[in-house]
Amino acid sequence: MAQHPIFAKQAQKARGFCTALLAATGLVATAHAALAAPRHAPAAPPAPAAPSFTAEQADHGAQIYAGTCAMCHGAALEGAHDMPPLRGLFVARWANTSLNKLYAYITHAMPLMAPGTLPPQDNIDVIAFLLRENGTEPGHTPLPADENRLAQMVFPAPNALPPVKAAQPGKAPRTR
C-alpha cells in the first residue's frame, strides 16, 4: 500500500495532544485575523476585539479556580459525565460571545453552591485563567472588571479552522 511520506513522518512526530495542537494552531495561524470577527456579527460596527489579560491575572485565576471551581469542573478543567468541561466543548459553546455575558453568568451562577460570593476581581481573573487555558496568550493590558468594556470583547476560538471561502454562511460545502 502506498504510504504518504509526510504522513508517516507526522505519525511519528505527533506524540501527545499538545504537540499536535501546536501543529494545528500553526496550520490555522493565518486565520487569526479573520477570527477576530464573530460569526454572528451584529449589523452595526465596531467589531468586538479579542480580549487582553495579564499572566498575573491568569495565575491568580488559577488559584481561585483550584480552590473554588476544580471540585466540580476538575483539576484539568476536564469536567465529567454530569459536569460541564471548561475546555474543548466550552470553547465551542462560548466562542464569539461577548465577555460581559460570561462575566455575568459566572457572577450570578457560580460557584454553584454559593453563587455570587466571589469578589468581582476574582471572577475577572478566573476568566483570564479560562482564556489562557483555552489557547489565548496573555498580554500587557489587564482584563477590566467593567461590563461595558467587556461587552466590546468576545471569547476567542484561537484554534478554529479558517473560514471556508465562497461558502454559504453556516453551511459546509458538499461535493455531492
Binding site: 499536535a20 501543529a23 470553547v91 479552522l161 460545502p173
Partner: protein, 416 residues
C-alpha cells in the same frame, strides 16, 4: 446452618498444596475472598446446555492493542484535521463513550459544524453520536456497517483494562486518562439500561475454581527473563507488562461475593458471584444506529486506501476510528493484533448468567450463548498476542465448550 465446612476443607487442601498460602483461620479466608453472599440470595439456576453440536457460529476478532494506549491525538493531513481515536485493545466497548467524549473535546475548539467519522465499529458509532450531542452534523464513512466490524466479534462485556496498555510504554498521565474514560463510559452505558430489548444489561457472573481463589492463583508467574520484554522484542513477553487500572474505579464497579456452603449451586469447591455489564450486540447496535439517524446522521459506504484520501472529503475535521485497520491504513505499526475467538450457541434465556471456569468463559446474551477460551493455555493476558489469524479455530472452540459440558454434566439443579 447452611454454611458447611467449606473453609475447613480448604484449609486441609491448602495445607497439602506446597507453596500455596494457607489460611490461619476461617475469618481470614473469608476476608481474603471478599464478602460472603447472604444465605438464600442465589436463585435456582437452570443449567446451560453447552455442547459442541450446538455451535452455530465461531467469530474471531483482532483486538487493536497499542502498547502506549489508545491514540487520541490531532494530526493535520492534507488540509484536514484528523482526530485519532483508535487502538483500545480489549477495552474498546468498555471505554468507547469516554474515549469518544475526549475525541470530541479535542475537536470542539476547531469550531467545525460538519465533521466526518471514519469507521462504523463501536468507537466510530459512539464518537459520531457524541459529536452529534455536541452539536455537530456527522457523516460516517465506513467500509462495513457494525455487524461486519471487528467490534461485534468481541464478547461484549465490561472489560475496561483488558490489553489496554503496557506499563513501560504508556505515558505517566495515561492512568488518569483511563480513569476518566472508564468513569464517563460507565455512566453513559447506564443510560441504555432498562430499555426495550435490553441493549445494555447486567448478568450475574459466577467465577468458579476447584482450588482456593487465593493470592497464589492470582500472582502472575515471575517473568522468564530469557524471553526478554516489550522493550527488547517489540512484543510483550509476560503478563506483568500489562497495565492494570481496575482498582481506580472499584468504588463504582460491583464487587464479587463468595457463595458459601449450600448456597454454592456449582459442583466446585469455590464460587464467587460478580454482576457484570454486558452489551447485547443486536439491540445495542440498533439503538445506536437509531440514535444516529434520528439526530440527522448520514452513513456513506466507502473504503479508504491511504490517508491522503481524506483530502477528498467535504468535511474538514475527520475522526479516525478505524481500530486494527489503522495499522495498515494509517501506518501505525505500533498496533499489535491480539486474537480473540468466541463460539456462539443458540440463545438460552432460561440460563441467564455467566460462568468463568478453567480458563473458559460462558455468557448468556440475548443473541446467543457465548463461549470463549480466555485462558485455556495458561498464558493469561498474553493469549493471542501477536496472532493475526482471523480464521476460526474449531478445536479451540470445542475445547472451551468442553469445559462447560463437563461442568454442567456434574451440576445438580436445586429443587425449587
Amino acid at each position: 446452618m447452611k454454611r458447611r465446612n467449606l473453609f475447613a476443607a480448604s484449609l486441609a487442601a491448602g495445607a497439602l498444596a506446597a507453596g500455596r498460602k494457607s489460611w490461619a483461620s476461617v475469618p481470614e479466608a473469608a476476608q481474603a475472598m471478599g464478602r460472603t453472599a447472604p444465605p438464600g440470595t442465589v436463585p435456582a439456576l437452570t443449567p446451560a446446555r453447552v455442547h459442541a453440536d450446538q455451535i452455530m457460529d465461531i467469530k474471531v476478532c483482532l483486538r487493536p492493542f497499542r502498547p502506549a494506549g489508545p491514540r487520541l491525538e490531532i494530526e493535520p493531513v492534507a488540509d484536514k484535521i484528523v482526530v485519532h481515536n483508535y487502538g483500545h485493545g480489549g477495552s474498546g466497548w468498555s471505554l468507547s463513550w469516554g474515549s469518544a467524549a475526549m475525541a470530541v473535546e479535542r475537536a470542539a475548539p476547531l469550531m467545525e459544524k460538519h465533521v466526518a467519522v471514519i469507521g462504523c465499529g463501536i468507537i466510530g458509532l459512539t464518537t459520531a453520536i457524541t459529536a452529534q450531542r455536541a452539536g455537530m452534523n456527522v457523516t460516517i464513512y465506513a467500509r462495513d456497517m457494525l455487524p461486519h466490524t471487528r467490534s461485534v466479534r468481541a464478547n461484549g462485556s465490561w472489560t475496561p483494562d483488558s490489553r489496554i496498555a503496557l506499563i513501560t510504554a504508556a505515558t505517566p498521565d495515561f492512568a488518569a486518562t483511563w480513569e476518566r474514560m472508564a468513569r464517563y463510559s460507565w455512566q453513559t452505558y447506564r443510560e441504555y439500561l432498562g430499555l426495550p430489548g435490553n441493549p445494555v444489561d447486567f448478568r450475574d457472573n459466577y467465577l468458579l475454581s476447584d482450588t482456593p481463589p487465593d493470592e497464589a492463583d492470582h500472582t502472575e508467574p515471575a517473568p522468564d527473563i530469557s524471553k526478554g520484554s516489550y522493550a527488547s522484542t517489540g512484543v510483550p513477553q509476560s503478563e506483568a507488562e500489562f497495565a492494570k487500572y481496575a482498582d481506580r474505579i472499584k468504588d463504582i464497579i460491583p464487587a464479587a461475593e463468595l457463595l458459601a456452603g449450600a448456597d454454592n449451586p456449582f459442583p466446585v469447591a469455590y464460587a464467587r458471584r460478580k454482576p457484570i455489564m454486558i452489551y447485547n450486540f443486536g439491540a445495542f447496535g440498533h439503538a445506536l444506529l437509531s440514535d444516529f439517524y434520528q439526530a440527522g446522521g448520514r452513513i456513506e459506504i466507502r473504503e479508504f486506501h491511504s490517508p491522503s484520501e481524506v483530502a477528498d472529503l467535504p468535511e474538514r475535521v475527520v475522526f479516525n476510528c478505524t481500530g486494527y485497520a489503522a495499522r495498515d491504513l494509517w501506518g501505525d505499526k505500533s498496533l499489535i493484533p491480539v486474537r480473540g475467538q468466541t463460539a456462539w450457541l443458540p440463545p438460552q434465556p432460561a440460563a441467564n448468567y455467566g460462568v468463568r471456569y478453567k480458563g473458559a468463559a460462558m455468557l448468556s446474551k440475548s443473541d446467543g450463548l457465548m463461549v470463549q477460551g480466555v485462558n485455556l493455555s495458561g498464558l493469561g493476558e498474553l493469549e493471542g498476542v501477536g496472532n493475526s489469524m482471523e480464521q476460526p479455530n474449531r478445536a479451540e472452540a470445542e475445547q472451551a465448550v468442553a469445559v462447560f459440558e463437563d461442568l454442567f454434566s456434574r451440576f445438580r439443579p436445586r429443587r425449587g
